[in-house]
């Protein structure tokens, strides 16, 4: 199995049906005719128009605004790199950056690992498999706002369920809302809860593709379950893992709903994330769009760098045929 060489988390098309003559795209534009190009663009254009209008144009505006002093109303002026200078010298920015990284490191591996374990356990015959699988998915479809409200309810220091349960086993007054670390834990827990299902689905799909014959052959050769997992299953999982890591990093960098509603970035700035901070600056009472946009641009660049680095590593490993 080769890994496609496109600059995207693309995966190899499954070789179902007839073998493909060549994966189109490898060769770039075959340029059969301008007419085919036209058809191609006609198909892509509705989506491109939407993306350009609602994502690229705003992104470019945000970049322009990051060099301005601009707010809701009143005059705006060019201020060069003042916003960026302020950003680098501001404790709160570094704090939110650290929080975002901590949050990412706490959520991404956890969600993926739990998803993998569940997928492996559910890959073979288990009683009530469909029911179990469905239950694990369900949090995926719950709105971030609802997740945050449930989180508020569970972790509330006054009337919360969790402290009621903890009190029953002799732990009193866990300070979920007033201790920075615990508040971060509560946000991470609710986030992981919503993501485990997705990781599991992706892994289940990948595991289904591991041909039974290989497992059976390995069994005949006397390989135990653990060995079989390590030598047969794991090599099949590098593409989905890569995909999940990239997606989860993007989601974690852009975490908003849960934090915004559940902790509001508090206590202090202990759970303030880059995106909530950018939003507060731009849409909060200070109405500082220039600065809010600056933070937004920084988030975009950071995500880009992290993803490109991952991609780079992935391709290097694919070339050396290594397995993580």
């Amino acid at each position: 199995m080769s890994t496609s060489t496109q600059a995207a988390p693309a995966a190899t098309p499954p070789t179902a049906g007839a073998p493909l003559p060549s994966s189109p795209g490898r060769t770039g534009p075959a340029g059969r005719s301008w007419r085919e190009s036209l058809v191609g663009y006609a198909f892509v254009s509705p989506n491109l128009v939407l993306l350009v209008l609602f994502l690229f144009v705003p992104l470019v505006s945000a970049i322009l605004m990051s060099f301005q002093d601009v707010s809701s109303f009143g005059p705006s002026s060019w201020v060069g790199i003042d916003n960026y200078r302020r950003l680098l010298s501001e404790d709160v920015f570094w704090r939110t950056l650290t929080n975002t990284l901590v949050f990412t490191l706490a959520t991404v591996p956890t969600s993926i690992a739990i998803g993998l374990v569940l997928a492996v356990l559910l890959d073979t015959a288990v009683p009530a498999r469909t029911v179990l699988r469905t239950i694990i998915f369900v949090p995926i479809v719950i709105s971030g706002l609802v997740v945050a409200l449930i989180g508020l309810l569970m972790f509330d220091e006054g009337v919360g369920m969790l402290n009621g349960m903890l009190a029953a086993v002799g732990i009193d007054d866990a300070r979920w809302q007033t201790d920075g670390t615990l508040a971060m834990v509560s946000v991470v827990v609710m986030t992981v809860w919503t993501r485990v299902g997705f990781a599991m689905v992706i892994y289940l799909a990948a595991l289904q593709d591991v041909p039974r014959e290989i497992h059976e052959a390995a069994q005949v050769d006397g390989a135990g379950a653990v060995q079989r997992f390590w030598w047969v299953t794991v090599p099949m999982l590098s593409a989905p893992t890569f995909f999940l890591v990239v997606m989860n990093i993007i989601w974690s960098f852009q975490v908003f709903d849960i934090v915004y509603v559940m902790t509001g970035g508090g206590p202090g700035n202990d759970t303030e994330m880059l995106v909530t901070y950018a939003y507060d600056q731009g849409f909060g009472p200070t109405r500082d769009f220039g600065y809010g946009s600056t933070i937004g641009v920084v988030i975009f660049l950071l995500t880009l760098v992290v993803v490109v680095l991952r991609l780079h590593r992935e391709r290097r490993e694919a070339r050396s045929g290594g397995v993580r």
Binding site: T12, G25, A30, V44, L50, T124, P127, V146
Partner: protein
């Protein structure tokens, strides 16, 4: 590990996964006073539907529900259509700059929506859409994730099928409609669910882009209720339950196709 041991392990995880939903359900039916007097109980002494009656008496929940259905429905139709078209072109058609277009599209996934909301908002104003449902629908239909999935799925469709049809003189549109689409059912299930879910659950952007409370969607009204119901978890959870129940049901019904579809997008 025997299957029963595996079952037990997964069942425990499931119990943990269900716990937050259970909390929501119980509190939605807990009398308001009981919550204040003794905190949220895992099994309240009394059950009541007063949280729901209070909610429906005071707020146009029905209107909000219909708004949600409509906005999410239209967004889904639009978004799935454009994703399928683009995914097909990127997977199967050869044209100048195709890979560049694909990279461009994928890179939009890294744009933090809330951080560029202000310029996005200006765009919506400039288009004259502010305060209408279109202000919510169109930006939501601009997503890259769906294109990515569609392209992955369509890559797996054998080229021979398309080649053969081309030999027969069919145009691309015809091929797409007659040959490709019928093979896409699992993909469509995934795209529909994801698009519907994303729009149904979004609250911040609709809150900013819709100014008239009569046009609110459910999650927006939930945020609204949060302000009105300070710490009245009973009322909030009742509303939260109404917000997520339709999706949970939809999902449980469609989950088989969802899993199949995702499995066949070939992220492996």
């Amino acid at each position: 590990m025997s299957r029963w041991v595996r079952f037990l392990v997964v069942a425990v995880v499931c119990a943990v996964m269900l716990f937050p939903l259970y909390c929501m359900l119980v509190v939605a039916f807990t009398p308001r006073d009981a919550l204040f007097d003794s905190g949220a109980q895992l099994w309240p002494d009394a059950f009541t539907t007063e949280n729901f009656t209070r909610l429906f008496d005071r707020f146009p929940v029905g209107t909000w529900f219909l708004n949600s259905v409509m906005v999410a429905g239209i967004t889904t139709a639009l978004s799935v259509t454009v994703n399928l078209l683009a995914g097909y072109a990127l997977a199967k058609l050869r044209f100048l700059g195709r890979d560049a277009v694909f990279v461009l599209i994928i890179s939009t996934m890294m744009i933090p929506a809330q951080a560029i909301m202000f310029p996005q908002f200006r765009t919506v104003i400039d288009l004259g859409l502010f305060g209408t449902f279109w202000a919510v629908i169109l930006p939501s239909a601009a997503t890259a994730f769906g294109i990515f999935l569609a392209r992955q799925f369509l890559l797996a469709i054998p080229d021979e099928l398309i080649e053969a049809a081309t030999m027969d003189g069919a145009g691309q549109v015809r091929i797409f409609l007659r040959i490709v689409l019928p093979l896409c059912k699992p993909l469509i299930a995934v795209l529909v669910l994801l698009a519907f879910m994303a729009q149904w659950n979004d609250f911040l952007w609709p809150l900013i882009a819709l100014k008239d409370p009569a046009l609110y969607t459910l999650p927006v009204s939930l945020r609204f209720l949060q302000g009105q119901y300070d710490a009245d978890y009973g009322g909030l959870m009742a509303a939260a339950l109404i917000t997520c129940l339709p999706l949970v049901l939809l999902f449980v019904l469609l989950q088989r196709y969802f899993v199949q579809g995702l499995a066949r997008t070939g992220i492996k």
